[in-house]
Structures are given as structure tokens and as C-alpha cells.
């Protein structure tokens, strides 16, 4: 027994060391890509607000008569921009906007149903596409982001298994000790206490990202290659098309029927499939205020008669779980407080990505095997990515350059420049200073162009300014600390 204890302890140490090794290997393999996905996802938490911020002066509509809705839909169809679908975004308690759109374009309408301004959310779409596709071709990007979700799940599992002192260190944050211990404490505390959030977004992200591959396989194996039939279990398939012309489907009657039968739900989207044809039909999606589900969908025929309820709110558990992944992933289940918490946790996950890589770099440095160029390139990626996001907004606003191209060029320049830069601390301060200035500038320029009358403009522009000030403060702090360290070294 006396002999077996040290052996068991040594076995446990070996197990923990191997798990830590696996954790580091996985983190190093996916760290940079994971950081970009996490950063863009963190900002995307506010995608509804960002869309409003991009066009803050679009008409505010609190409610709309059925006649005005029909007038707006008819006017939009007359533009010829609808394609195979007519989408109507209804005003809700959270969003006072009425948008009528098709497969290619959309318009804001006023309360009388007049089309007022073309909807253009290019920067928000750029951000979302970075998060869900990494700007790659859609199927490839979607699947790669799904794989990143799997690897994040693996990182969470290996991180927990490799942490035998989880309770002993549960509340320790020793920022005033060695930089490596400070980074390790930050990494571990954020990882452990925000793990429900990390696990939720990792698993739902993997679930969403791998859905295309899974549906393809299920269709090939069990449905003779019919992907629509395979996905029919989760959402109804389209009805047979009949392209003979017809008056636009009576969605106003469908909406009135739904409101009469389900006064407790809040409809937020209407889709008319194959609008203006004999085969057209209507889907209305409504939110359940006390559920995690994205919503429930009801299908109506062209005369507004109810055909079926999807069953996302009361169907098989699988259907309810499937439709809940969206709100769990994007944090839209508790209003602004939960969005702010998701934003903070998202920033925390970015810090976990950065600090994980930093810990590995510091460990190498401590052992005399520093990789100074890689350290600087990592700093370039860390701060170059948010700088790229800020610069891409100017590119989009100028309408001269593509935000996507500008983002990747800025990121590449930041990393390449960092590779050849001097000392890492000065580089970090320079990039942070640049980011602080850019954030404040984005807020100021946006306020100058669009004014601050719309609440979303005020809060977002003020938020950008405050973020810039906070980052500038960290630059100033680290300059002061650096000078103090230098003074001690000179005295020594």
C-alpha cells in the first residue's frame, strides 16, 4: 500500500501531464482560427442592434395596419426584387422596424406602407459571414466552423480532466505574480466559471456547423439522396410549385387568424413562398416569450387558412432542441442583460484563446526556447483582428472597398509587420493604442454622419468611445508599469 501510493500519484501526474499536453496541442492547432470565430461571434451577439446602428434613421414603426402591410408588400413586388420569396419582418417590442425583402434586396417601410429606404446591412453581414463561414465558400466555411466547435468541446473536456486542483484554485486570481501564473489563473478561472457558456456555444456551434454534412450523410444512407426529405423531420418542406400568376397571398388574414388563436405569442416574420403565383403559401413565425425555442411556425394557404403548425414548441423533443440551438448560441433569450452577459463571456473566451497561446509561449521562454517572432505575430493577430474589424467599417461606409478584403489585408499586414517588429511589449502598446483610437473614431464618425437621435446610435457610439478609452487606459497603465520596471532594472 505504501508503495502503491507514490506509484498511483505518479500515474496520476503522468495522466494529467498527457491531458495538459493534449489540451495544449489542440489549442495550438486551432487557437488562431478559434480566436477569430470567438471575436466575430462576440460582436455578433449584437447583430440586431448592429443592423439598426448601420441605418439608425430608418423609419420607426411600432405597429402597422394590415392594409399598410399589403401596400408595402405590393410596392416591393413591383420592384421585381423579390425572387422566389417575400420576407416581411414585423415590428416587435424590441425592434420597431418593418422590412419587406426578397432573395436579393429589402426595403424599410413607414407605418403607412410606403417604401422609404433600401435596407443595407453590409458590415453586419460581413461580420456574421466571418463568424459562420470565415469568409470561405459557404459549405466549406460552415463545416470548418463546425469542426472548430468540435475542437472547442474537446478543449473544454481536456481542460477539465487536466485540472485536478479545480477547487483548490477555484477563486484564485494572482495577477500580481509572475506573468505566466497571472495568465494561467486568468485562463483557468475564465474557463471554469464560464464553462456552461463555453460548452453551450461549442456544442451548439458544432451542431449547427456539422448539420450540412450530417444531413448529406443521412440523406445518402436512409433517404436515397433526398436531402429535403431528410430535413423534413425538423421543418416542413416546400409545397409543390405552380407558377401561374395569381394575386399576392392574403398574409394579413393569416396574421389575424394567428393573433386570434394564439394571443400569447409575438409574430415577427412572415414568408410568402413563390409570391404572386398559384402555388404560393405563407409561413408565419412567432416568438414564445418564456421558451428557448427560436419560435413556432404556422403554415397558411394563399387565402390565409391554417394548414399546419410546425411543432417546434410542442412537437418531438428533438425538434424543440434543434430550434433552441439558435437562441442558446447567440444569447437572445433574455433581452439586453443576457446579451451583455454573452458579450462579456465572449470577450472572456477570446481572452482564454489568447492566454492559452501566451502560456505556451511563456513556458518556452522560461525554458530558454523562446520564439520571439511567433510571439510578436500572435500579438499582431490578437490586436490586428479587432483593428481589422474597425477599419473594415470605414471601408464599408466609404462604399469604395470591400470590408471583407480590407479586414483580411489589415490582419495580414498586422501579423507580417509584427513578425518583423521590435520589442513585443511596445508592439502590443502600439497596436492597442491604434485600436483605442480607431474605436473612438468609428463612434465619432458614425455620430457625425447619422447623429445621435436614435437610441441605438447613442448607446453604440458611446459604447465605442468608452471601449476606446478603456483600451487607451490599459496602454497608459502598461507604459507606467514598463517605466517602473526599467527604473528598478537601472537601479539594480
Amino acid at each position: 500500500m505504501a508503495q502503491s501510493q507514490p506509484q498511483s500519484s505518479s500515474q496520476q501526474q503522468g495522466f494529467v501531464a498527457r491531458l495538459l499536453g493534449s489540451h495544449s496541442a489542440l489549442g495550438l492547432f486551432i487557437g488562431g482560427v478559434m480566436y477569430l470565430i470567438c471575436l466575430s461571434g462576440t460582436v455578433s451577439v449584437f447583430y440586431e442592434e448592429l443592423e439598426r446602428w448601420e441605418q439608425p434613421n430608418a423609419p420607426a414603426v411600432e405597429s402597422m395596419s394590415p392594409e399598410a402591410m399589403t401596400r408595402a408588400a405590393d410596392a416591393f413586388l413591383a420592384t421585381g426584387e423579390a425572387g422566389e420569396h417575400l420576407y416581411i419582418t414585423l415590428p416587435t417590442a424590441d425592434s420597431h422596424r418593418f422590412i419587406v425583402s426578397g432573395d436579393e434586396a429589402g426595403w424599410f417601410a413607414d407605418a403607412q406602407g410606403n417604401l422609404v429606404e433600401k435596407a443595407a446591412h453590409e458590415w453586419t453581414h460581413f461580420l456574421i459571414y466571418l463568424h459562420i463561414y470565415l469568409h470561405l465558400p459557404s459549405t466549406l466555411g460552415f463545416t470548418l466552423v463546425g469542426i472548430a466547435g468540435v475542437l472547442l468541446t474537446a478543449l473544454i473536456i481536456s481542460g477539465f480532466l487536466a485540472h485536478p486542483r479545480i477547487f483548490r484554485d477555484a477563486f484564485s486570481l494572482r495577477w500580481n505574480r509572475s506573468p505566466r501564473l497571472a495568465q494561467a489563473d486568468l485562463h483557468n478561472r475564465l474557463s471554469v466559471w464560464a464553462s456552461p457558456f463555453h460548452l453551450a456555444i461549442a456544442v451548439t456551434g458544432a451542431f449547427i456547423g456539422l448539420s450540412i454534412v450530417l444531413l448529406f450523410l443521412v440523406a445518402q444512407l436512409f433517404y436515397d439522396g433526398d436531402r429535403e426529405a431528410a430535413s423534413n423531420a425538423l421543418g416542413s418542406r416546400d409545397l409543390p410549385a405552380d407558377e401561374r400568376p395569381a394575386p399576392l397571398a392574403d398574409f394579413a388574414t393569416a396574421l389575424a387568424t394567428l393573433k386570434a388563436e394564439h394571443p400569447d405569442v409575438e409574430p415577427f416574420a412572415i414568408t410568402v413562398h413563390e409570391p404572386g403565383t398559384m402555388g404560393q403559401f405563407i409561413d408565419i413565425t412567432a416568438e414564445y416569450p418564456r421558451r428557448l425555442i427560436y419560435g413556432e411556425r404556422w403554415r397558411f394557404d394563399a387565402e390565409g387558412r391554417l394548414l399546419q403548425q410546425e411543432g417546434w414548441s410542442n412537437g418531438p423533443v428533438g425538434k424543440q432542441v434543434y430550434i433552441s440551438t439558435y437562441k442558446v448560441h447567440f444569447g437572445s433569450f433574455g433581452g439586453m442583460p443576457i446579451k451583455l452577459a454573452y458579450f462579456a463571456f465572449g470577450l472572456g473566451l477570446c481572452v482564454v484563446c489568447i492566454s492559452g497561446f501566451n502560456i505556451w509561449l511563456m513556458r518556452r521562454r522560461d525554458r530558454g526556447r523562446a520564439l520571439p517572432r511567433l510571439e510578436k505575430a500572435w500579438t499582431g493577430l490578437t490586436w490586428g483582428a479587432p483593428i481589422g474589424l474597425a477599419v473594415s467599417w470605414f471601408a464599408d461606409e466609404s462604399a469604395l472597398l470591400s470590408p471583407t478584403g480590407v479586414f483580411w489585408v489589415v490582419l495580414a499586414v498586422a501579423m507580417a509587420g509584427a513578425w518583423f517588429a521590435g520589442e513585443r511589449e511596445s508592439l502590443s502598446r502600439l497596436l492597442r493604442g491604434l485600436l483605442a483610437a480607431l474605436l473612438a473614431l468609428v463612434g465619432a464618425v458614425h455620430a457625425m454622419i447619422y447623429g445621435l437621435a436614435a437610441p441605438v446610435s447613442f448607446w453604440m457610439d458611446a459604447g465605442l468611445l468608452v471601449s476606446g478609452l478603456v483600451i487607451a487606459w490599459t496602454v497608459w497603465q502598461s507604459r507606467t508599469a514598463g517605466r517602473a520596471k526599467l527604473a528598478v532594472a537601472m537601479k539594480g
Binding site: 494561467a184 451542431f207 433569450f333
Partner: protein, 187 residues
């Protein structure tokens, strides 16, 4: 209908944050009292019930997790040692492994293949027939398969990265893939 029932939400918050406070007190004690730890975790579990009543069964639990996580991070930020002590060197032997040393690129290429494509194939090929045989409703099968793939693939990736015995991992993954393929062929 209100999106949140305030009195129940307050009760749930008190229980959740109370559990956190008890865990913090237990952590501060030299012996790390098991009783206090039990009470802390018990209060967390107990807070699930009022959260379910406050915000809906599924949504309420999610809200509760966000509140406890945010509370814990705020507590750590408030009690952290931000300044004052002299920077010391890291103690030798803590959290020290270097995954990219001690093994050649050939080893890490094998690990990459095992943790990536092979673990993925094994996860898909194993999850698809098992879920098909479960007899559940179609939607339940699809969703359970997706989650099973994520969990199996993640576990396979962790195992492939953590073990020095890559042959054992390869053999197990190959065996599982063969078994799953055989089941798919039978189906």
C-alpha cells in the same frame, strides 16, 4: 405573459449567488470544508427550480447558469490580487508540458490524422446506425445523432492527443469504424 416572474427570479438569484458565496467561504477555509462545499452545490441545484418557474423550464435554467457564471467571475475580479506582491517566478512543475517537443513532426501528423479525420469518421459511422436503431421519432434521432457525433468526435480527439499509444487509438477507431460500417451495410 411576462417573460420573467420577478419574485421567483429574485429567489433563484439569491439561492444561486448564495451557493456561490458558500463555496467561496469553503474555499477560503484552510480545510476546504466538504460540508460547506456540499451546501454550496446544493444551493446551486436548488436554484434550478425557481429559475424554471421564473423564466420557463428550459429558458429559466439557461438564465440561472448565466447569472451564476457572471456572479462567479465578478467575485473573482473583486477579490483578485491585482497589485502589491512582488512578481515571483513560476513554481517548477506546475502546469508544465510542452506538446510540440519530445516528438517529431511525424508523430504530430499521426495525431492530427487520428484526432481529425479518423475520429470524425469513427464518430459519424458509429452514431448514424446506433441512432437509426434506437426506434425514436425521426426528429429525435437526427438531433441525437448530431450531438452524439460532436461528443464522440471530441472524446476521440482528446484521447488521440493525450495518449502516447497511437497504435491502440488507431486500432480502436478502426474497429469502431468497421463495426459501424457493418451495421450500416446491414441496415
Amino acid at each position: 405573459m411576462q417573460a420573467l416572474t420577478l419574485p421567483m427570479a429574485l429567489l433563484a438569484t439569491v439561492l444561486g449567488l448564495g451557493g456561490l458565496a458558500v463555496l467561496y467561504v469553503a474555499w477560503r477555509r484552510p480545510g476546504r470544508s466538504a460540508l460547506l462545499r456540499g451546501i454550496g452545490w446544493g444551493l446551486f441545484l436548488l436554484s434550478v427550480w425557481p429559475w424554471g418557474l421564473a423564466g420557463g423550464a428550459d429558458r429559466g435554467v439557461a438564465l440561472g447558469m448565466v447569472v451564476v457564471s457572471a456572479g462567479a467571475l465578478a467575485l473573482i475580479a473583486a477579490t483578485g490580487q491585482w497589485r502589491g506582491a512582488t512578481p515571483r517566478r513560476q513554481r517548477a512543475g506546475t502546469a508544465s508540458t510542452e506538446p510540440l517537443t519530445g516528438a517529431g513532426w511525424g508523430h504530430w501528423l499521426k495525431v492530427f490524422l487520428l484526432a481529425g479525420p479518423l475520429a470524425a469518421v469513427a464518430a459519424f459511422v458509429l452514431a448514424l446506425p446506433l441512432m437509426h436503431l434506437s426506434g425514436w421519432a425521426e426528429a429525435d434521432r437526427l438531433v441525437a445523432t448530431a450531438f452524439a457525433v460532436v461528443i464522440l468526435w471530441s472524446a476521440g480527439a482528446v484521447w488521440a492527443c493525450a495518449t502516447p499509444r497511437l497504435m491502440r487509438v488507431s486500432a480502436t477507431m478502426a474497429g469502431l469504424t468497421a463495426a459501424g460500417t457493418a451495421l450500416l451495410l446491414v441496415l
